[in-house]
């Protein structure tokens, strides 16, 4: 059974936010809701200051604290490691949101009433999004690694991480190919090789969550 994961090359990331925009487009996210973010950190003091771009998404942790606290079972972890939220089962207690040490979840409330261009009506994309992905107010949402693309791709015999159709939108959207997607359990996969050769690290591994997202420098 594969364990889907991602490697993000911090040397290649230029902080363009294409991953975030691709994700918003793919998931028709309302204003103010982000599944992907790029944190921009400044380190050092003048004149020796350097900037670091740090893309962050849901880590789809192997020991996901959000799964453990969910009382309704809406937050589930698949056998391939992807953590999803079933909007029809979520009661909106936000325990998962509190429990996530990376704070990569969003509670949908007033955001669904907002438009991207206030006063100018909904764009065609927004209208389409409200039909295809009717988000429910009062529930929690998060990145699901474009699980529909992965599942549909696999059913067509495509390979996630190699074939674009079966790969998460943020990976395809990156102009510098800073993101690589694949099976962490397969030692021949690109992600596994990168982690081994370039000493991939996890974000705050001391939390004990065993994230599926690795970073290389």
């Amino acid at each position: 059974m594969p364990r889907w994961g991602m490697v993000i090359d911090l040397k290649k990331c230029i902080g363009c936010w294409s991953c975030s925009i691709s994700c918003k487009q793919e998931n028709f996210l309302p204003p103010g809701v982000f599944f992907n973010r790029v944190l921009i950190g400044e380190l050092g003091r003048y004149p020796s200051v350097r900037k670091e771009m740090y893309p962050v998404i849901c880590n789809h942790c192997k020991e996901a604290p959000c799964v453990k606290v969910c009382p309704t079972g809406a937050t589930k972890q698949r056998k391939d490691g992807i953590v999803t939220v079933d909007p029809d089962e979520c009661m909106g207690c936000r325990a998962c949101l509190i429990a996530c040490p990376y704070q990569m979840r969003s509670f949908l409330d007033h955001q669904l009433e907002k438009e991207y261009f206030p006063g100018q009506g909904l764009t065609k994309l927004e209208i389409l999004g409200r039909e295809i992905k009717p988000y429910q107010a009062g529930t929690v949402v998060k990145c699901d690694m474009c699980v529909e693309r992965i599942d549909q791709g696999l059913s067509k015999g495509l390979k996630p991480g190699v074939d674009r159709e079966a790969t998460p939108a943020c990976v395809i959207g990156c102009p510098t190919a800073a993101r690589v997607f694949g099976d962490l359990e397969d030692s021949r996969s690109e992600v596994a090789k990168l982690i081994k050769v370039r000493s991939g690290t996890q974000l705050h591994s001391e939390f004990g969550t065993d994230p599926s997202i690795y970073y290389i420098r």
Binding site: S20, F34, R37, V38, L39, I40, G41, E42, L43, G44, R45, E52, Y54, V56, P65, V67, K68, V69, C70, P71, T72, G73, A74, E89, C90, M91, G92, C93, R94, A95, L97, I98, A99, C100, P101, Y102, Q103, F107, L108, D109, Q136, A137, G138, T139, V140, L203, H204, F207, G208
Partner: protein, 303 residues
């Protein structure tokens, strides 16, 4: 000012979902469930049936009702019982439900309408089971917080113990206040020794909890700094140190050995201080909790 998305989690970030705006209902829900079960357990031991009834009503309608009001989808609240094997919220919901059902059965014979029921409120079954259930219900709220390892200020084994101490302390105070109001002064006589010890335990465990945070992780220390020197400090010093601890302790020492008839005003003042002080303390605990920053940056140190 709204936080920019590229800046999120760059500092020690506060949790907001369970304290800000609608999250305040969550704090109140925890608070009322705790004091409702607190009055219930205290009233069990002194045979104060009105206290049992009021404790049950507070748990069911204030505590339960506020929980419902907070949820994003309250119509799905029944789903909260589905995962007791791993979710503390699930376990707490089941125990609270059992507490309310058995509590109703225990209280019912007190009413003349139900006087023909084949059991009495003082049956051995209730005497054994209800105290345990009350303890679980009192500690459920802070137990839910203590399992959240993402917030080191909450992730302490001391928190449920603190909850038990505050539940019993508030229970004695509210039961005392109610009994004085209905001229059942003998309840005060029975409860006052319990009140003294529960106040002492409450203060001691609170200090121990905060001392624990001082020697905990950076995020816990940051939370403590906010309480003692930061934006929450005025609330903490006035609401907790003064109103929750010092004033009740002073009143308790003043009234030592006095009869209830001569010290009504002081007792009511102590009840009010206990209520306001404990709510403030819980507010401070929820408000001060901080997440670790995600990455190293100058923002973390405020540069």
């Amino acid at each position: 000012m709204e936080e920019k998305p590229y800046f999120r989690m760059m500092r020690f970030t506060p949790q907001k979902e369970w304290i800000d705006r609608k999250g305040f209902l969550f704090l109140l829900a925890f608070f009322f469930v705790e004091i409702g079960a607190g009055i219930y357990i205290v009233s069990l031991f002194v045979g104060f049936q009105l206290g049992n009834l009021l404790g049950w009503l507070i748990c069911a309608f204030l505590g339960g009702g506020l929980h419902f009001a907070y949820l994003g989808k309250p119509e799905r609240a029944w789903r909260a019982i589905l995962r007791p094997q791993i979710s503390e919220i699930s376990r707490g919901t089941i125990l609270l439900t059992i507490f309310l059902i058995l509590g109703a059965f225990q209280i019912a014979p007190s009413f003349s309408f139900f006087s023909r029921l084949p059991w009495s409120s003082s049956s051995l079954f209730f005497k054994i089971v209800m105290p345990f259930l009350s303890v679980f219900v009192i500690t459920h709220g802070f137990m839910t917080l203590s399992v959240v390892s993402a917030l080191p200020f909450w992730n302490s084994a001391t928190l449920p113990v603190l909850s038990l101490a505050s539940g019993v302390w508030l229970g004695t105070q509210l039961a005392t206040g109610i009994s004085l109001g209905v001229n059942q002064n003998e309840v005060f006589v029975l409860l006052e020794p319990v009140a003294r010890w529960s106040l002492f335990s409450y203060v001691f465990i609170s200090v121990f909890y905060l001392w624990n945070a001082k020697h905990g992780s950076l995020a816990a220390q940051e939370s403590l700094k906010l309480l003692t020197k930061g934006e929450i400090a005025p609330t903490f010093y006035v609401g907790v140190i003064l109103i929750a601890f010092l004033v009740p302790a002073f009143i308790t020492s003043l009234i030592y050995g006095s009869s209830a008839e001569t010290i009504h005003q002081l007792l009511y003042l102590r009840v009010g201080c206990a209520f306001v002080g404990d709510l403030t303390f819980k507010y401070c605990i929820l408000k001060a909790a901080r997440y670790f920053p995600l990455i190293e940056s100058n923002a973390r140190s405020g540069v």
